[in-house]
Symmetry: C2
Subunit: 373 residues, 2 copies
């Protein structure tokens, strides 16, 4: 409240601008006030513009505007460029943080049940989203993770657990914020498309105890992956059972293989791959999303671990990737290895690259495949 009135004082006669405006046909209008700027544009992840900019036109009132073509139902990210400098849209307080970059977000939804509506907060029973600290004996630290409890969780009935892992540079907030995990689960559970489940979203960077701002490093702004240089006593995969053990101790879970699934994107897909052969009878469902998971050729121990894993007949080994993903070759090599050994898996390929849009889709698909048999 204090800052609001403070801001109003500063801004003087600046007109109130609404941005973005989602039009009824699904097109989106961006508005931005700046009477002195020379060039203003919008950058975003809309199909329409991909990695180029949408130039805004200046109106007489100093408000720059541009309207997109109708967009498909989706959650979109964007930022505004003013004379070459990247900014958050000052009219839109909805932002996501990805590592140390903030972007504005908005959702296009045309009808109930479409992708936009799946990512929105609807009038359905909502689960609880908690930031909890757990002890990791292997890493020798306390660490923060995010836990989703389904709406029907009451501490009495046991639920299955999905372990949901982020990518390189992400943290324990990534799947909840960028990935819309609680909205997706709330909506899928309400529609009867997913089984009610606990979702555990740990921090996959062992050198960090928590996300920026919640770690003990204060308000240090990470330079991309700088925090991965800090070093840690063990890797994510080596320390992973600390998480499973803590969750099984502190929540009412189905404490056996059929009640456990693990999936992750990019680096977290690599973690999922490593976890699959490192702990072969701990999980029944694996999901490798755009996975940084490299097959080890001419490695007898790896071959043996993979043989043990598939001899134990996991219920699902799922690989998903976009056609334009820069990790496609690595995933192709992984599938070749599985094919050579006649290890059964499911494969899902769609458009697009190494982007959150795809990971939200993969979570939606994977969540509907698990804990049903």
């Amino acid at each position: 409240m204090a800052m609001q009135s403070f801001a109003q004082q500063q801004l003087g006669q600046r007109p109130r601008v609404t941005s973005p405006v989602i039009n009824t046909d699904g097109s989106v209008t961006f508005n931005f006030y700046d009477p002195t700027a020379q060039k203003v544009s919008v950058s975003g992840d809309f199909e329409e513009i991909r990695n180029r900019r949408l130039e805004m036109q200046k109106g007489e009132n100093g408000v720059w505007s541009v309207t997109t073509q109708p967009l498909n139902p989706e959650l979109y990210s964007y930022s505004i460029s003013v004379d070459g400098q990247r900014f958050i849209d000052p009219a839109n307080s909805y932002v996501n943080r990805d590592i140390s970059t903030l972007s504005n977000i908005f959702i296009v939804s045309k009808e109930q049940g479409d992708k936009g509506s799946l990512y929105a907060v609807n009038d359905v029973p909502h689960g609880t989203l908690s930031r909890v600290w757990y002890d990791s004996p292997t890493l020798g630290t306390q660490r923060r993770m995010t836990v989703y409890l389904p709406p029907t969780y009451d501490g009495k009935k046991a639920f299955p657990v999905l372990y949901l892992l982020h990518g390189h540079g992400g943290d324990e907030t990534a799947w909840g914020d960028l990935g819309r995990a609680s909205q997706i689960l709330d909506n899928l559970i309400a529609q009867g498309k997913a089984v009610p489940m606990i979702v555990v979203m740990p921090n996959g960077n062992p050198p960090c105890d928590a996300a920026p701002g919640w770690w003990h490093a204060g308000m240090y702004v990470p330079d991309g992956n700088a925090f991965n240089q800090l070093g840690a006593k063990a890797s994510m995969e080596e320390s992973f059972m600390d998480i499973v053990n803590w969750v099984d101790k502190h929540y009412k879970t189905i404490k056996k293989r059929s009640g456990r699934a693990v999936t992750g994107l990019s680096m977290g897909g690599g973690h999922t791959f490593g976890i699959s052969y490192r702990y072969p009878q701990t999980f029944d469902y694996y999901g490798l999303q755009s996975a940084a998971g490299r097959v080890k050729r001419n490695d007898a121990q790896f071959d043996q671990q993979m043989a043990t894993l598939f001899a134990s007949k996991p219920k699902l080994y799922w690989i998903a990737i976009g056609k334009e993903d820069f990790l496609m070759q690595m995933n192709t090599e992984l599938r070749q290895y599985l094919d050579e050994h006649h290890y059964p898996y499911e494969y899902y390929e769609n458009d697009g690259g190494h982007i959150w849009r795809n990971w939200r889709i993969y979570l939606t698909l994977f969540a509907q495949k698990i804990f049903k048999d």
Copy 2:
């Protein structure tokens, strides 16, 4: 990750700028790159500048800079003005949202135990911070609130509960984000200065089910207090026992007066005042912070309610306000009424006005006064 590389593509040869830089003497340097801007300044809530701007000077590399005088330990907010337009500092991903305004934040801390350190994440046991949805039969909706569970909460031992209420325009995220409630409680509990307690931070706007972005209104950007016009079946005070009843049912609480405290700021201070005489034997500790709590003169029912409240001898009736607070007169009238009736209360007055800096201080003080006898 996708947006990060995307941003890098856009920004081209832009130099990497670090901002803010907290210098060892407690002064703070802001840096901002913009080779074409005419005038750049910083606005913030530092004592040094109050409601005026700190002009930045342009260097040869297109980076504008300014350094403050040494600042006292505190959490500060600021934004950057570029040719009259207010922006978030693009080098600082730490932001707070107040209603629909984003501001950057940073913390100055000089030594362990100072105010800055009290608001920081330290290497102490951490409580759990959860966003939970509860049913409000009185309002006929499900609603979201934030719950802090102390580090030693295990579902077996019962803990006292502090109900912590936000002001006009705030929501269930305000005390956790702007108010640093979980950091303050973690640190006070670790230092043995506060009793381990559950802290419940509800949404004090009955027309809203949740904070912006988590409510069912989608990504609507509220215009100040517009959402208070939506209407609701009952007021916050009328529906308040729904919250207490739900908390007592779902958490291991001390379900009696000596285990309950309520405090709030501004509108939430008014709610605390109303709750105090409406439910006179439900809470033992009351904290009115910069309270919008108006005495009802010539109102026999009010007089009777207040008489009942104080006849029941609550353990603490605490009133706190800053010398420059615009609600000082209202608080003076409230204290006059209490004095006239010889109703005992404690009064705390400090510098400053109707600002979060003071509310963090008041929470720190109040949390140390409750549940100790």
